[in-house]
Point group: C2
Chain length 355, copies 2
Amino acid sequence: MKKHNFSAGPCILPQSVLQKAAQAVTNFNDSGLSILEVSHRSKDIVNVMEGARELALEHLGLQNKGYKALFLQGGASLEFLMVAYNLLETKGAYMNTGTWADKAIKEAKLLGNVDVVASSKDQNFNYIPKGFTIPADADYFHCTSNNTIFGTQMQNFPDTDAALVCDMSSDIFSRVLDFTKFDLIYAGAQKNMGPAGTTLVIVKEEILGKVSRVIPSMLDYQVHISKDSMFNTPAVYPTYVSMLTLEWLKDLGGIAEIEKINNAKAALLYSEIDENPLFNGFVTNAEDRSKMNATFTLNNDDLKERFDTLWKSAGISGLNGHRSVGGYRASMYNALPLESVQVLVDVMQELKRKA
Amino acid sequence: MKKHNFSAGPCILPQSVLQKAAQAVTNFNDSGLSILEVSHRSKDIVNVMEGARELALEHLGLQNKGYKALFLQGGASLEFLMVAYNLLETKGAYMNTGTWADKAIKEAKLLGNVDVVASSKDQNFNYIPKGFTIPADADYFHCTSNNTIFGTQMQNFPDTDAALVCDMSSDIFSRVLDFTKFDLIYAGAQKNMGPAGTTLVIVKEEILGKVSRVIPSMLDYQVHISKDSMFNTPAVYPTYVSMLTLEWLKDLGGIAEIEKINNAKAALLYSEIDENPLFNGFVTNAEDRSKMNATFTLNNDDLKERFDTLWKSAGISGLNGHRSVGGYRASMYNALPLESVQVLVDVMQELKRKA
């Protein structure tokens, strides 16, 4: 039976990418060797690392604009720390939109003065704060563009003199934005880009080198830049699969094309959530709803067993909500086809007919 | 043509492991999904993470002895920092046996007082220092069991009241030792254990929690222990392939069996290096020679082109020495068959006949 993978991450990747990724494990670039057993300093692997970095910049329109791309290890969780280590001198300004932003705030506080300038904690993070002020003495403003757990997504990013830092782990490469507005973007690969184990960091070089503390080598963006992401042995395979996914996106027409598909998927599912009397969306402001992760609940818990049986029988997986929110979460990352969303909507309608 | 992969790392992995690893990329555990696209919280992946940790402890004889195993990201390079963050209060004692030890020392110095109690820098690291004293007030003693670049390997480890910390990146699981002697062992996966992208850490819990500094979450061993290596999304695939390799080693008979094969490979190559008048070993003390990485040079540079052509024609790859040493380096990790070493020895003898 065809699988419809709504997993929140690690999550669905394009089938063509997975075929190439499997091939490379037995015979990489017709070398007779596995990609897992060749030196990271070999020409073919250096090409992979360079290709991945170039494609990332190209998709975001950031080539030749003073930005560097890095593929590092440690996930967004290590970036929470690295951002503060590299940028926090006087004050870090943060927006708190949920679990991940909260963790970023916690790590930054170990390094210096942190000002939480906006938060949606008062309503269990079911909206995106607006109308806040970033202090003039802030070194940077940190935000999370998409919140996987709560299903909210930022539509607008503030104009500020502070460096604009954004955790885009769960919506990078999903929509067109003016990425030149950002000074530092980071993203764990395991949503729209690849498997778990590598983290994309895009940084405008001019913001670095301004803090007075000594930065340990592995936490220093300038060290990684000076070594082209190869200061130490990188996570070769996760980066390779990310490169394949970025090539797939390019063949498809890039971010502008995938955005149309993502918009269609989100429109289809959110209309059903709104129109079907059995379901309630968790995020009430329509403009704050995430196009990546739709969170919703059943109005009547008695229907849970029937609904769960229906969607599982339809080949759907990964639909359970996060424990902080409950209910359901449909993650519709780039590689999820519209067809899968239609299958979910059909199941929701079937439940209504039978209820 | 059959390949003989002498790469220093990432390096050769068992063929049976690579076959299973490729299969999992298209259809993991007959789920119809790729291992790259399922949640790290799913039962199958939790089993992988637990299995890898258990197998690591089992191979080293450290089950139920107060040790925890972790699969983290960032390689040995991040461990250089984490060791100091978690253990350095009064003083860290270090042995300097080359590039990697030197980097560990550099990062530790950022956190506190470091005493380099022994070094072989005076002879470009071609031996292992002996007869040194570890200060009574040292929190820990740090050493590198095997030095990939220079081709030296420790045979004995000091008895000390300080915590014994060892970077075993390039010889873990290759030989029988009394591993209960160690308090913290770490190893990047990409030699004897798996592909690049995951790092095994084995730590005796009782040595943790004794420093006064606040440790950032991602650098805190206790945080990772409390979350069973899943504080954040782990490098799932590299850990899975490591688990497969540890299963392969178990099927083979474990460390005791692989040690016999490793001894046979090293004996075969070093006899040829010693007996063949065209070659010189870089490491002069026989007892300090690494069984993982044999470093040697040609006596006559004029023969270089002929020798390089010969070994390449024989299907050998990865034989060039590191730039710090020059010459050649034959890395004979666990998965390299004796047959490959024989092919190299045959080539060395052929050169002698033709020279």
